[in-house]
Amino acid sequence: MSMNEEKTEFRPLIVAFCCNWCSYAGADLAGSSRLSYPADVKIIRVPCSGRVNPMFILRAFERGADGVIICGCHPGDCHYSTGNYYARRRMTLLFSMLDYMGVENGRTRVEWCSAAEGVKFSNTMNEFCEKVKSLGKSVRLGDIRCKD
């Protein structure tokens, strides 16, 4: 590779945990409405935002994710009636802690997105990608052994 060659654009790695009942369906709707968002976002289906164990988020950062977003049902609309309320508290505290340790707030996000909100889903992903991109590569929680 020549020294002058322009560095390829930084593409963030983003893990999205989506609730099966709302935002996963919202992502499907974004798809069937052909609303694009960057391929950097990879979705993991979970039964409820309350299923997202903080361990998963830390794991993602450890393995080199640059941003993690959790999407669940709007407060009051949880399929299991209360899961998202617990998720909200859990993530509020976890994100605050990550921020406290120097992992910028912009790398973590929770969004409430219903099955009908394909547009919101795609907008959220676009916004979040931009934000993470502007923060650059996440190195603070990464396991150096996991990357070459």
Binding site: L13, V15, N20, W21, Y24, A25, A27, D28, L29, A30, G31, S32, R34, L35, S36, Y37, A39, K42, I43, I44, R45, V46, P47, C48, G50, R51, V52, N53, P54, M55, F56, R59, A60, R63, G64, A65, G76, D77, C78, H79, Y80, S81, T82, G83, Y86, A87, R90, A116, S122, C146
Partner: protein
């Protein structure tokens, strides 16, 4: 090690146009566990499924990954396909490479790369999948209807006619609900009682229906097919079996003549005695004693009703009774009320007795109402010559004063009111202030046009800003005619407010007991807005009538029937399959701290002392046990558990972790 087959679908060009399907097949072929990979034009087609079945047999596959459309679309299809080939259906994972890949990305290389990553994640997950068995649970062949209005009545009748037992729980002393308060019904102007009363009687006499009036649901536990419901039968103070409904007690109650207790049924437009039936056609025709107002209960003196009752049915000693009944299905038909108008001071509702709500107008026009059907002003009992109707009072309102939705029924009932008044008293001058006239429905617009064309009701597009009571007893209405762009100041005799409807108070409490979801306006949420409109997302809970959203009587009755069919469909089954993706506790790690039970929305977690044996551990201790029939698989317990003892089958900690890993590889 699993033997995994990967099947990549082209979905015509839906996937293949942006994802290089062949390349995906080549790249995933060497993933750990994969022994077979192939692609096909339409995986979900019969030929595609045959291909999968053949591959399972030929390569002795233990797990499948289908790269295709969303699992919400065809996961069921592919699971059934796997089952056909003798594979456990829960050994199938779907990688969503259509909705979440090919349809949203344009760059072929990028989309292909993402498809491979999604496939890898699914493969990694399947490697950790374990066969899961759907359990079976029996079905109690009895349904509960909460609410005895027209919605509940119709649902109950339809279920009962299908041969199943139904109980109705009604908070008020009589069934009938809002509809029993109405005078006539649009668009055909039948008399409400004439069409409702026969149904109420039918409910009362139906061998399959049991009525719990003056009762409330106190607690619900259990799950679809097996609910345990606690019902509080409030003390009526009248023995239901002895009472003949002669009405002597009501007539003799000293409080009846004092006129101090406003009648709820007549919306406070007249008073009632302390022992009362809400209305003459009440079902059951048994009065109740309102203990808060009754002199006997307040002072211990009086006792007139007990003395004069010819059948000795009055019983002051009666106590609330709590019964627990098993049900297979529950229908919520809690109905509606209108909003409180305290925040709309501009309409002077609390200042002038001649500013009334539409429901009050129904009572005033009803032959059995406080005025015997003669329309008169409550202030001076004169017949109003000029009436102003104001639409959208609190409906379509953005702030906390009102409701953001359209109440749906007001446009039609206002046209009805206007026409009925004009019919009886043709010289009455009627003005309707409206924002939009909304009349979607069979014969609805024709109905409204009749009010304008035949009855010459004056419809003004615009709103009223203020109603000012005048010293001479009239009302000054300040409004606007937007089409004329003129402000209107007009004197009138009566103002009728089309107050917004809202779900009955207490429905949130009921929804919480049922773990049925409810929206910001306290309307119950349906499982799918279009395809499952009468079911709650919570299995075994069904919706009927206004509790689900604003609707008129014909719509309510059709929804009631639809809910009944769904209930019957459930009760007709002898066994139900249960979701095998439930939580599971590893006693080795569980320390019995109760954190999981605190977050479980279904009460599915209990604790017991268990002998725990393992490396370095041999003791008896308190550990969590999950009731698989109650657990719905939300996983709240798994992320609350401090030691990671709780895990969710089908979405296990290791499965999700490995998905994260393969995405971040």
């Amino acid at each position: 090690m699993q033997r995994i087959g990967v099947f990549v679908c082209h979905c015509g060009t839906n996937i293949a146009a942006t994802v290089d399907v062949k390349k995906v097949v080549e790249l995933v072929r060497f993933e750990p566990g994969v022994v077979f990979a192939d692609d096909y034009m339409y995986m979900c087609s019969e030929a595609g499924q045959e291909k999968i079945i053949a591959a399972i047999k030929e390569h002795d596959l233990t797990g499948l990954v289908i790269c295709s459309c969303s699992p919400r679309m065809h996961e069921k299809t592919f699971r059934a396909c796997a089952e056909k080939a003798g594979l456990n259906p829960y050994m199938v994972e779907v990688a969503n490479i259509r909705e979440q890949c090919s349809w949203i990305h344009k760059d072929r290389e990028e989309a292909t790369e993402k498809a491979v990553i999604l496939a890898r994640a699914a493969i990694a997950k399947v490697n950790l999948n374990t066969p899961l068995q759907e359990g079976e649970s029996p079905v109690t062949k009895r349904a509960l209807i909460i609410g005895g209005g027209i919605a509940g009545i119709q649902t109950a009748l339809d279920i009962a006619d299908a041969g199943y037992e139904v109980d109705i729980v009604e908070r008020e002393p009589s069934i009938g609900g809002r509809m029993s308060q109405f005078d006539k019904t649009f668009p055909t102007l039948d008399c409400a009682s004439c069409i409702l009363t026969p149904k109420m009687v039918e409910v009362n006499q139906h061998p399959n229906i049991t009525l719990y009036t003056y009762s409330e649901v106190e607690g619900v536990s259990g799950y679809v097919g097996n609910f345990d419901v606690k019902i509080r039968k409030k003390a009526r103070s009248v023995d239901m079996s002895a009472c003949t409904g002669c009405g002597e007690c009501q007539a003799k109650c000293p409080l009846g003549k004092m006129g101090k207790i406003p009648s709820e049924f007549d919306r406070g437009l007249r008073t009632r005695p302390a022992i009362y039936m809400p209305f003459a056609q009440a079902v059951p025709a048994v009065p109740v004693i309102d203990r808060e107002n009754c002199t006997y209960f307040k002072t211990g003196k009086c006792g007139v009703c007990a003395k004069i009752c010819p059948s000795k049915a009055v019983n002051y000693e009666q106590e609330d009774e709590i019964v627990t009944v098993k049900y297979g299905a529950i229908v919520v038909a809690t109905g509606f009320d209108i909003i409180n108008l305290d925040k709309f001071g501009e309409y002077a509702y609390n200042e002038s007795p001649d500013v009334i709500t539409s429901i009050e107008l129904e009572r005033l026009m009803n032959a059995s109402g406080p005025t015997g059907g003669h329309l008169e002003r409550m202030s001076d009992h004169k017949q109003p010559k000029d009436i102003v109707f104001i639409q959208c009072v609190g409906s379509r309102c953005d702030d906390e004063k009102g409701k953001p939705y359209c109440s749906k029924v007001c446009c039609m009932y206002t046209a009805k009111h206007a026409m009925l008044i004009k019919d009886h008293w043709p010289d009455t001058n009627i003005t309707v202030f409206y924002i939009d006239v909304r009349t979607p429905g069979k014969n609805f617009d024709e109905f409204y046009r009749r009010a304008v064309e035949q009855y010459h009701v004056n419809y003004v597009k615009g709103q009223v800003g203020k109603v000012i009571p005048q010293p001479d007893g009239s009302l000054l209405v300040q409004g606007v005619d937007l089409l004329d762009n003129k402000q209107i100041m007009k004197k009138t005799d009566m103002v009728v407010l089309a107050a917004a409807v809202e779900p009955n108070k207490g429905v949130r409490k009921i929804a919480t007991m049922l773990t049925a979801s409810i929206d910001n306006n306290d309307f119950l949420t349906e499982a799918h807005a279009k395809l499952r409109p009468v079911e709650s997302p919570t299995a075994g809970i069904f919706l009927s009538g206004m509790a689900q959203g604003p609707k008129d009587i014909p719509e309510t009755v059709s929804q009631a029937g639809a809910a009944a069919v769904k209930v019957v469909g459930l009760l007709a089954k002898d066994k139900l399959k249960t979701n095998p993706c439930t939580a599971k506790c590893d006693p080795m790690f569980c320390n019995g701290c109760s954190t999981c039970a605190n977050v479980c929305p279904y009460g599915a977690i209990t604790y017991e002392d268990q002998q725990v044996r393992g490396p370095g551990v041999n003791e008896t201790r308190r550990v969590a046990v999950v009731n698989n029939a109650l657990c719905q698989g939300c996983g709240a317990c798994t992320s609350a558990c401090p030691s990671g003892a709780m895990d969710l089958q089908g979405f296990s900690n290791r499965q999700i972790t490995t998905e994260v890993d393969s995405i971040c590889r």
